[in-house]
Symmetry: C2
Subunit: 324 residues, 2 copies
């Protein structure tokens, strides 16, 4: 492989995902292409929207863009799993298929989280030992990044699912360069037994050990996510994590600041790189999400996850060899 | 009743509640006494700590302070319900008893939420139609106050408990002067069926109607609490509400702002005025919490709740007549 091929990243972008799609997504793609000269984009969506974007490009840029036709979208209020399974033209599903076929390296979508998770699960499948996927964001706390997961992939997990997400969070932190990451379970106080039934069950399982490569530091609280301190990885269910992330972002806006944009959330546990942006993403957030996906590709994050999970005693050991 | 008697408020303050008790609580009481000349305080805690405080007062101030001895506290990691039931000297329980005996009008504690809720439930009892208490805060959003409940009294509610909390939240909003309050159920998106099983069950019950005096506006998201907009009252379980509140506060600190201090959380659903402050409250937060309690007493909030809940078709109708 030449150096330039190694550093190129091919991102399949869901043109139909997001509250202001496709217009905002198109603007985000333009911005991303101009910022990153080694970026290639597969525009997954209606031919007309793709062609309009291509016309806005210089001849050199056009070589870096292709159009993958897809016309369907999961509507609000639809059940995502059924919609994605039943309708092969759903754009986020087509985007995942582009990755499975080896034509793209990663997916970015600002569409429904439920649809993205369902499509990734259906088309790409799960990594060994993973029960359900988890969405992770890196919150830039005052004391370094705090990885918060799950922020919405699995709203109603059982304790064993949370424990498998703990392993994903530890692996992700290590792959981001955090040595021996400390994992905390989000609850309503740090004293033992604080919280609800799910927390008590999960804490008991985590306390038994098995987080190879990282350590369990017990319960942490909501403010420990933006302020950092006790944990590098904060584990919670997808319902609470989603509410917390949006609440923190809103509070930051209210008090005149900005919680430095995490550039979308990374979907952990699937056999591919998938970045999910806010439905309300502007063009800047779309570009940041595409950049997150490209960085994950260049850092070979997927191979890293396969390595980390294969090394884990709690994984099922079904993983294939990644490197010779 | 003379005007001065009518506007006096007698607050029982838990000297043993809070991470830095009693020192910080003592400082908060001093500040509150000096700010509010119609305030009377019952210091509930060890005689020595109470006497040290009294010595710091002028002779005129001393007349407004009494000491109610109590020596016990619920330790971290103890089960609050058992501890409060089994040990009559627990300070927060003694404070509640001062209200039940008519010697105080309200309680302020910065101690364990679980202990405060258990003591209030045991000693004061519940208002008619209430299944479990809920802690409420008023978040000062850009578009007016948003009442968030529950922030920690009942971490694991069933759907019917959440519906009863909806009635408490509507009543509280009305008593704070919000006419026809709009109630939203906190979830991960505004589309129907978003969220987890508890949300789907609760949304179905709320959609059936019955929120007399207010209306149900459907699902709202985390950022709608700090930013306001769709709802005046945001309903959630005590686990999620606690995490969200602390996360918002932390994010506000991180971005250099302050989420204007809510002055503690009001415990709704019990037969008495109880304000619970953060365990990490400083003297200013203690004074603000005492002021919240005094304001609730002067606004006759408890009688207001009894009136509101008696008027509600979902209440059990066991309420006594409040006003002639």
């Amino acid at each position: 492989l030449t150096r330039s091929v190694r550093f190129a990243a091919r991102i399949a972008v869901d043109l139909l995902g997001g509250d202001a799609a496709p217009a905002v997504v198109v603007d985000g793609v333009l911005s991303a292409l101009r910022t990153d000269p080694q970026l290639n984009i597969a525009l997954v969506g209606p031919q007309t929207a793709g062609e309009a974007l291509v016309r806005a490009l210089s001849p050199g840029e056009r070589e870096r863009v292709s159009i993958v036709p897809a016309s369907d979208v999961v509507a609000m209020g639809e059940k995502p799993v059924q919609a994605v399974r039943g309708r092969p033209q759903v754009s986020v599903r087509v985007a995942m298929e582009s990755v499975r076929a080896g034509e793209s390296d990663a997916v970015f979508t600002a569409g429904s989280t439920g649809a993205a998770v369902a499509a990734a699960h259906l088309v790409l499948g799960l990594l060994p030992g993973v029960v359900r996927p988890a969405l992770a964001v890196a919150v830039p706390s005052a004391r370094g990044p705090v990885i918060l997961l799950d922020v919405g992939a699995t709203p109603d997990p059982a304790a064993r699912v949370l424990v498998s997400h703990a392993l994903l969070g530890i692996a992700y932190a290590r792959l981001r360069g955090i040595a021996g990451p400390r994992l905390g379970l989000l609850s309503t106080g740090h004293e033992q037994d604080k919280g609800d039934g799910l927390r008590r069950k999960t804490a008991a399982r985590l306390a038994r050990g098995g987080l190879r490569g990282g350590s369990y530091v017990g319960l942490v609280e909501g403010h420990h996510v933006p302020l950092g301190g006790p944990a590098d990885v904060v584990l919670t269910d997808g319902f609470t994590g989603n509410v917390l992330l949006k609440g923190m972002e809103g509070a930051a806006v209210l008090t005149g600041g900005v919680l430095a944009g995490p550039g979308g959330a990374l979907l952990l546990g699937v056999r591919g790189i998938v970045v999910v942006g806010h439905g309300s993403s502007g063009a800047g957030a779309v570009a940041a999400g595409i950049a997150t996906a490209a960085r994950a590709v260049r850092e070979e994050l997927l191979a890293g996850f396969e390595r980390e999970l294969a090394a884990d005693p709690e994984s099922t050991g079904q993983s294939r060899e990644v490197l010779p």
